[in-house]
Subunit: 222 residues, 2 copies
DNA sequence: CGCTTTATTGAGGGCGGTCAAAGAGCGTGG
DNA sequence: CCACGCTCTTTGACCGCCCTCAATAAAGCG
């Protein structure tokens, strides 16, 4: 167990964290194997043992859970650079699939550990981040309108991307299953946001923000 | 040693975990201070620093988040024996309030650590458990009907309680805000479950299960 | 008991779902 | 380069689940 681990850091520990993640990222690259996954291909299944760590090199991944009658819920999306698969305990609660053709770095957790990585710390940080996002997701699904959900979703992508033009790696059905809506409602809300001059779609899966304040207001971040 | 407060877990590695938690629980009792909170009294606020650990001695606690216009979402409930406040990172994302008059053990995390507790492990396990529950909550809010949500909620209580007659520590409004519904819909679904001979309410806040298989079917656990 | 809070039940409305069809995007092959 | 076929997306019309509003009933609590 690493003595370097601190339970509660008072200062915003972004610098420390990114430094650690940088090291881990380097280690991941050296220890892991890059693999290619085709669109909709499964990375891991629900209830599978979770002894691998994954990092998106290129593409996008979704975690999903399906009810017996086919209703599907997406837990989260993972984009380039994101680490996943480490966050759900000994067994996966959701399965993971490639949203589109993707390259993913696959690392054995045990190998990482023996290579000297502070896996526990990485795991802890990742889990915490997942929990934060899951709770935000709960608020969105429990109490936001369709309009607000779609606005929140786009705003989240904006924060991740930090570029003027933002790509949507996933289709409308995936967005719907993330937001607890139907594909038609998502489409309608996107059209509405566009006609209200909040965002502008240059292509079906590419947009830019016209009115950021308006988007933030609609997202109702609480 | 009297294990008056058992840590609740559905996780696979229950034996290992409860052994560790048993030790921690003992340490908590010796290091912590029991405090009384009145109904609806705040235990901690949103965005407050999180350097305390809490354990419900008696009563019940809810975590809540409120949108600017008053819409409220409850993150989770914590009942007798449950540990909370440790799960949301350096700052709380939700605030915590007593559902009804409650006695809560309050422990300084730093004190726990210097007393030799494996706080890291406790923190990690708690966070992981929270994430599991949050993801289940996401599925419920995103893809289940009102009928299924209420059934899932009751089933969850049944699993926690393991007693023939189960108490509801919270009112209908709290249930509604947990399930992303209105108080009227919750009330209607409870009436429906009762007229379908799935459960039976001996009092407004006390029920027993008549048809467990039926309840599980309705809960659509995926 | 009487007062307040909480829960139930009913009637009606609206947001988002369902069903359907047309349009756009896109790779493949002529 | 366009035609073709497939998938994905958009848009429209209608419907139903759940919300809203309202009134009553029950439960706490002094």
């Amino acid at each position: 167990m690493s003595l370097a681990y601190e339970f509660r850091t008072n200062a915003p520990s972004a610098a420390i964290m990114s430094a650690n993640i940088g090291d881990i990222g380097d280690l991941l690259r050296r220890t892991g194997v890059p693999m290619n996954f085709g669109k909709d291909e499964e990375v891991y299944g629900q209830d599978e043992e979770a002894d691998l760590v994954y990092r998106v090199i290129d593409g996008a991944v979704r975690t999903t859970r399906v009810l017996s009658d086919g209703r599907r819920q997406i837990g989260d999306f993972y984009l380039k650079g994101d680490i996943f698969g480490l966050e759900t305990g000994p067994r996966h609660r959701f399965s993971a699939e490639a949203v589109r053709n993707s390259q993913i770095l696959v690392v054995k957790a045990s190998a990482l550990k023996s290579a000297g990585a502070d896996l526990e710390r990485l795991d802890h940080m990742t889990t915490r981040r997942e929990l934060d996002r899951a709770l935000e997701h709960v608020l969105l699904l429990g109490r936001k309108t369709a309009h607000e959900r779609v606005a929140s979703f786009l705003l989240d992508l904006v924060h991740k991307a930090k570029a003027p033009i933002i790509d949507l790696p996933m289709g409308r059905q995936d967005i719907a299953d993330y937001l607890g809506l139907t594909i038609e409602t998502v489409s309608r809300m996107l059209s509405l946001l566009q006609s209200n001059r909040i965002v502008s779609f240059c292509a079906t899966r590419q947009f830019r923000v016209i009115n950021l304040d308006g988007l933030m207001d609609l997202a109702e971040q609480g």
